[in-house]
Amino acid sequence: MNDGTRRDGQGVFGPVGSAIWAVLGLWPFGRGMIAGHLITMRRFLRTFTVGHGATTRRRGGGDLPVDLWWRRPEHHRGSIVDQDAGTEGLFTVEYPDERLPTRERFRVLPMLLYDEEDGSVRCTSCNICAKVCPPQCIWMVQAKDARGKVVPLPEEFYIDMDVCMNCGLCAEYCPFDAIKMDQNFELSNYERHQSHVYSLQDLLVSSAYYARTHPEAWASAEEQAERDKVARKKEQRLRKAREAASLAPEPEPAGA
């Protein structure tokens, strides 16, 4: 393959480049380096002129250099920069003024959901997340009622963020859609011994937050079905409670 049939610098600048190259073709040495420099130069110029990165459009408000001063837009606050196949020119995404898009499946740390409407925690402390957790960063205690009977709720739930590997297996295998992966990555802090062990209170977020960050999953058939199932169960329980209540109060006024 080292037979010297490699393409040289032609074609980088279109016809103009070919013309330059025709002249350079007479040049006896350093042709590879000159071709490389042309590419670097092209990159440099395009940084200011094309694509999302076109400096004047980005820093100023229009396409002309004068727009840098003339039409200064409001400085972007956390605007999303999505770089696709056509991205050319300046490649920098200026966090924190700009951000990369957060993909729905993007995962950082786990969180536990509670239902927006009635505040009920979805977790039934079935332990599956702790059983699939590869670095074993989940600790949990099942709730018990006064008589010592097991209640399908977590009494305590801890996740050690200094052990968690953000793999998302807990969320993937949770049968109750109770544990999900949060997308918030801005978690820097100055202390770890108190703040990096998340307790139940730290982990709980509302289902509305989840619906906002994970719209596709929220709308998916599986999660919809799971929610319906839970809602039906709740309805049943409520009906039973109502029935019990409607039976119970009757003697009460009689007694009173």
């Binding site: 393959m1 080292n2 393409r7 610098g9 980088v12 040495f29 350093g30 590879g32 380096m33 071709a35 490389g36 590419i39 990159r43 770089q83 696709d84 196949a85 056509g86 490649f91 920098t92 995404v93 966090y95 924190p96 951000r99 993909r103 499946r105 993007f106 950082v108 740390l109 332990n127 702790a130 059983k131 957790c133 590869p134 670095p135 074993q136 989940i138 600790w139 949990m140 205690v141 305590e156 801890y158 050690d160 963020m161 200094d162 052990v163 968690c164 590997m165 953000n166 793999c167 998302g168 297996l169 993937e172 990555f185 801005e186 978690l187 820097s188 802090n189 100055y190 202390e191 770890r192």
Partner: protein, 901 residues
Amino acid sequence: MPTPPTTRPEWTIPIDPALQAELEKHVLVTSWDELLGVVDTIYNWGRRSALWPLGFGLACCGIEMICTASSRFDIARFGAEVFRGSPRQADVMIVSGTVTKTMMPMIARLYDQMPEPKYVISMGACASGGGPFKEGYNVVSGIDKFLPVDVYVPGCPPTPQALLNGLIALQRKIDGERLDIPALGRKGNTPWYDPEVDRDIPVPVFGPDLIDVRTLELTAERAAAGLLDAREAALPRPALIPAPRPEAPGPAPDAAAEPSPAPAAEQRAMSKIELIRARSRGEAVPGASAPTSAGKPAARPSKKLKVAPARPSLVWLGDEGLAELASRLDAELGSGTATIVRAALLVPAEKLLDVAFFLRDRNPIRYDYLASLQSVHYEDCIEVNYHLDSTARPGSLIELRVRTAEAEGAGEVPSVISVWPGADFQEREVFDMMGVRFAGHPNLTRILMWEGFAYHPLRKDYLEPYYEAPAKVFPSRIDDGQGQHRRAEELNPFGSNVKIPRSFSGWDRLDPAADVKGAGRMPEGTGVDVQELDTDQFVLSIGPQHPSTHGVFRMNLRVDGETVVGLKPVMGYMHRNHEKIGERNTFLMNFPFTDRLDYFTSMLNNFGYALAVEQLMGDDAKVPERAEYIRVIMAELNRIASHMWSIGFLLNDLGAFFTPALYAIEERELILDLFEWAAGSRMMCNYFRFGGVAFDLPPGWLDRCRAIVSDRLDRKIDELDRLLSENEIFKDRSRGVGLLSREQAIAYSAAGPVLRASNVPYDIRRAAPYSIYDRFDFEVVTGTGCDVYDRYYVRLLEMRESVRILKQALRDLPEGPILPGKKSYQIKVPAGEAYSRVENAKGELGFYVVADGGPTAYRYHVRSPSFINLTALETMCLGHTVADVVGILGSLDIVLGEVDR
């Protein structure tokens, strides 16, 4: 409290109290202290805006740190682009990745060498608290055990944006600093420049374990008290299984009818009984072991034990070929030479060398390539096994087994280094991890741990300091009365990840200044002729934190003037105990750990591991068509991403500082975006599952991917080609440098682009096709130059081939399911043995798995291409200059997560 309106004599009009307060706070200077506060502000502003990080990365997080410095995130915007190679010029240390015990003394030294004021950012879960590798025996449970940490950046790994967030947090912290001015009686809040305080971190010492000298007496006292032994006595220990026995005479078909695993099953039942006994003993100790922790054996009765078909790998010589080979060996070298045991040849140790020479030189199929060498600790022996392949007839893989004494330190096997020099590091690894000695090995020293480490950690009877149970889930997490968060440190009597044998007595001989890790690896002069000047020889240590060693890798060079006359790699600084942890993990749990092997190619690692376990599971994990295509798409995208990085940083090593790297990283970033979109993480994809992939492709993903593949990548590879391939300086630096002839490359078991650049058309995708690679039209790229340049060029052309495969796969991607059945976390893996091979971006990546029918792998070994490619490093570097060594190492494209595992 309402403030009365205040007026000042010099002001004639009363001023609004709120405005007054604002003015006093921000504008007016009313006291000396505030005047100095202005100085503080300026001072802090200067300091926060020019934080110079120390240029060393430890592991996966280090890569994200480099990405943060690259064009997309551009840490230069914060004044922190000047990554310093020397600690003396740096003022912030970003501890990016797993802090291992082997590396810790070096980090302490680096910190001590930094001038004040100095800050530490702990990046990622590992640096903060040990992370997923915390349970490993060579991992420090958090850098704050030694260094004062200013900012923690959680995440595994934190994205570059998260690191920038951490940097901003550090800047905010610096903003709050007040200067200490004794002359004015002003007390600040910074610890800097205080002559009273000795801020140096005492360098920890390598003893039988890593010993923090600040707690030396306490450690000695507790070791002598034998507290750890008492703790371990109460814990369930891993069960050992007996080694597979020879088959009964007569041709046994592939199916499960063979008798050999039956005793295994029986034995497993036996050991379970023993375990139950042990458990009952354990329960006598209050609160020690919990009921479900009975250990490795599954709760199912052993008669149901499923056995996988016996075959060493998916593509191999075959049963008939093996039987023929065995009879040929018996005929040539005397009967009893080779016995077929579970589709591999059991060879007596004393005949190993004869067999090896015969297979390499006289057998019709020349087994010239030692693919992999590993060991298994069985109940009755330690087995060392060898996977051999032939470069002339690829795909005729066979496995040799050699057995030796089980007792610690008693085993001895002849070294095959004279037959296959590529066995060098692998034999040292087996020695280090299992304690098997190799007779005739020229330098049999520990390779991953240090000389003097008290244990051979992969033996089944070695329990890590934080050991809880032979298999996960650990009882402390969920069981009755437990489930309260307890750090692993609380379980260990030393209060940290330390295990010291009770008998250890050399406390007064510990020397913090000794170079325990590198001392045994001083290169001798190797007879290279140096003529130019009458120069002296000296030894130069490069690394482990040197920016050009691609991670925490170290080379001891013997140089004559500037010419290299000897070179010994020193490694293990990134040894995160992947294999030991892999034996505690259930099969599913291991996926995210494989991501962290070669953290550039997590998809390819997932691929290899999935194949190994699928080989055992057989039809239970039959991959649907769509999943196969998705797997190939992900794998090839990942190969391009990895090669892009590799080419960029090779040029960095050769002095083209960062321009090619920045161009190449752009394409990698776009591919990482695709990964994040589909799998949820830029680097740690965790995307494959047994029998398929975790999720289907999200809507819109395919369009983006097609656009990148068909409109962009070719163009960008062309641009890189034009930028670099004809560059005269690059050619001068790389042509004829780092020569590795065809024969040497094969002998040293080199793999991947390194092997192919030496003109060996050996690519696992063709040699032993896996998945659906036989359907695609692509070339196996080879080079004839055998040098750094051709390794570069092979990678470049391979990217083109990957684009070709991608175009075909994206065209043919069918609709359909992505998993064979319902998603389940309970994976039933039949007992058996499997070795899967995939073509990683670095070469042949192999996963060797021994399953005993339980929920975890009995033995789990990774054949890592980066590690084995390093075997040839000395040969390639001799006679070149130090500057060339850096380039040659760059052309090997090692990743330390995979080298040291």
